[in-house]
């Protein structure tokens, strides 16, 4: 019991491992491809939303253009696996493609972040949005490379590596969740580290840190880059799942999705955005199966959370049952 009370990396890694094993067993207990699909999507979108929440929840910066990095990761992975590099890399192709996707979205985030973090509040939000729409236009314009508005067509191979064949549903499920959980455990370490408290300090009062000899801008940029790289990872997993990449992933509406998830799940608890992704996916699945008015239902649910609970679901649950 003491082990679980102590908030440290080992405990989190252990919990992560247990959750992963549980979900693997679950795969066989509930052999429904539809539910497996929901679970892996929840993790992929959860990563996307959690990465955005570094900026919104912990740094207090509302970034509107986060899908730029998601799309960058997705297209990088797809283009990499369609390229000739894969012939020489063979079974290393998929790890190399994921690493490239993270790398490219990191570089992109460094570039966009360096410019955007100079601005505050709504100006920051608008500039991130502007960059995202720029990326969107570039994807549409480079038809020869990206397939333009058709998306990245023709699929790509998924050569097995380390005995993992992502063409098989179980392998894909296990792999995606494993990568996501590792990332979440690492992200938790970041948020609970002195660096993470530096973020909270800037969120709480951006004027004071300079008088403590602390450089806000540097800290904000690093956080922005990390958030972008995780969004890129999420995008690359999504591309692997769909065996393609689509320009809508760089459209502004795609940036609104993680925002909804954060609103639904809660921005003040670490796993809030992941829970938001779960609610979002369940709504998406069940509502679209039964009505055409998906947008309306989503709107009403968000409205009832915002007006009824006045916070995301996990934030609300934690306050109600955990903290008094």
């Amino acid at each position: 019991m003491k082990f679980f009370k102590r908030d440290n990396f080992k405990r989190d890694a252990f919990i992560g491992l247990v959750v992963w094993i549980f979900l693997l067993i679950f795969f066989f207990i509930v052999p429904s491809p539809g539910i497996h699909d929901i679970i892996q999507k929840v993790f992929i979108l959860g990563l996307f939303a959690m990465s955005l929440n570094i900026l919104i929840g912990y740094l207090g910066l509302v970034a509107f253009g986060h899908a730029a990095f998601f799309a960058a990761g997705a297209y990088t992975l797809g283009l990499f696996l369609q390229s000739s590099a894969i012939v020489s890399l063979g079974s290393l192709s998929i790890p190399a493609a994921i690493i490239s996707a993270i790398f490219i979205s990191t570089v992109l985030a460094a570039f966009i972040g360096a410019i955007c973090i100079r601005l505050k509040d709504i100006y920051f939000s608008f500039l991130t949005l502007a960059f995202q729409m720029l990326i969107y236009s570039i994807i549409l314009a480079l038809v020869d490379i990206t397939g333009g508005d058709q998306g990245l067509m023709g699929g790509f191979p998924k050569p097995p590596f380390l005995g993992i064949n992502l063409g098989k549903p179980f392998d894909f499920y296990a792999f995606t969740i494993f990568i996501s959980i590792i990332t979440i455990v690492l992200l938790r370490q970041l948020i609970e580290s002195p660096f993470g408290y530096g973020l909270r300090m800037i969120r709480d009062n951006p004027e004071r840190p300079a008088a403590l000899g602390f450089n806000n801008q540097r800290h904000k940029l690093i956080a922005f880059i990390i958030a972008g790289s995780i969004a890129g990872l999420a995008g690359s997993l999504q591309a692997l799942l769909d065996v393609g990449a689509y320009p809508e992933w760089a459209f502004w509406a795609k940036s609104a999705e993680p925002l909804f998830m954060i609103l639904l799940g809660g921005m003040h608890s670490f796993l809030g955005p992941l829970m938001g992704a779960l609610i979002f996916e369940i709504l998406n699945d069940f509502v679209t199966a039964n009505t055409r008015y998906y947008g309306l239902v989503l709107g009403l649910v968000i409205l009832s959370f915002v007006l009824g609970l006045r916070r995301g679901l996990l934030d609300w649950l934690l306050i109600k049952f955990y903290r008094k």
Partner: protein
């Protein structure tokens, strides 16, 4: 310790600071007084690099710190508490003090340790003790009383172990009893540490009680400086300030 040499600062056409020179001896406690809008806070902003100096120089020891960045000046050894409390509302007292301690040693770049178990814990509780915040150590800052918030603001500055500590109206908004408690605490802090202190204060009883040297500012100019005895007798001050209704 701190030497301000003929600094000037104008906002638009208004001279907020006019040829001001101030010199503080090492390990001294000094007051800066003057009516509302005299330019007291502006002088603090100039010293700490929050705003730029138009003309003149500021030294700490032999170090010319004129127009360095606010962060650099802080690392050289000047810390301040603010007229309007300037703290971190959602963080606890403990977390806030630890953050200030870590900022001092560039420790907030650390991503590999847990903040909660970081080694500065002991030092943080010492600072809380020094500032009388032990009882509210785990309270969230926004839930502290006004007085404790002021103390926390000072605690953050102390965590930087400054050579020079600037306190902007540490007793503002307090009742008479609380005021004297705060002042006693500041005096104690000053005696225990080797700091040079400069504080801004409107209450003349307090100023005369603890300041060794007093600087009187009016419309951006220093019109008098001296010991409490000298200031009490100074005709210019009596006319301009003491006589003309204090706050």
């Amino acid at each position: 310790m701190l030497k301000i040499h003929k600094i000037n600062k104008s906002f638009g056409g208004i001279k907020a600071t006019n040829n001001v020179s101030i010199e503080l001896k090492p390990h001294s406690i000094n007051a800066l007084i003057g009516p509302n809008g005299a330019g007291k806070t502006t002088i603090f902003n100039l010293i700490t690099g929050k705003i730029s100096v138009d003309e003149g120089n500021i030294f700490i020891g032999d170090n010319n710190i004129t127009n360095l960045k606010e962060t650099e000046i802080t690392h050289i050894g000047i810390a301040r508490a603010f007229q309007i409390t300037n703290i971190f509302p959602t963080l606890s007292v403990k977390e806030s003090i630890k953050i200030a301690l870590l900022a001092k040693i560039h420790g907030l770049n650390n991503m590999w340790d847990r903040f909660s178990s970081h080694s500065v814990n002991e030092e943080a509780s010492k600072i809380a003790e020094l500032t009388g915040l032990t009882k509210v150590y785990n309270t969230i800052s926004s839930e502290l009383s006004h007085g404790d918030q002021k103390l926390l603001d000072i605690a953050l500055a102390l965590a930087l172990k400054p050579k020079v500590l600037l306190l902007d109206e540490p007793t503002a908004g307090m009742g008479p009893e609380e005021r004297w408690e705060m002042i006693k605490r500041i005096k104690e802090l000053w005696q225990k540490t080797k700091m040079t202190v400069l504080f801004i204060e409107h209450d003349m009883d307090i100023v005369f009680d603890i300041a060794q040297t007093i600087f009187v500012l009016q419309q951006g100019s220093i019109i008098a400086k001296g010991t409490p005895k000298e200031i009490k007798k100074n005709q210019v001050v009596i006319k301009a300030y003491l006589g003309g209704g204090k706050k």
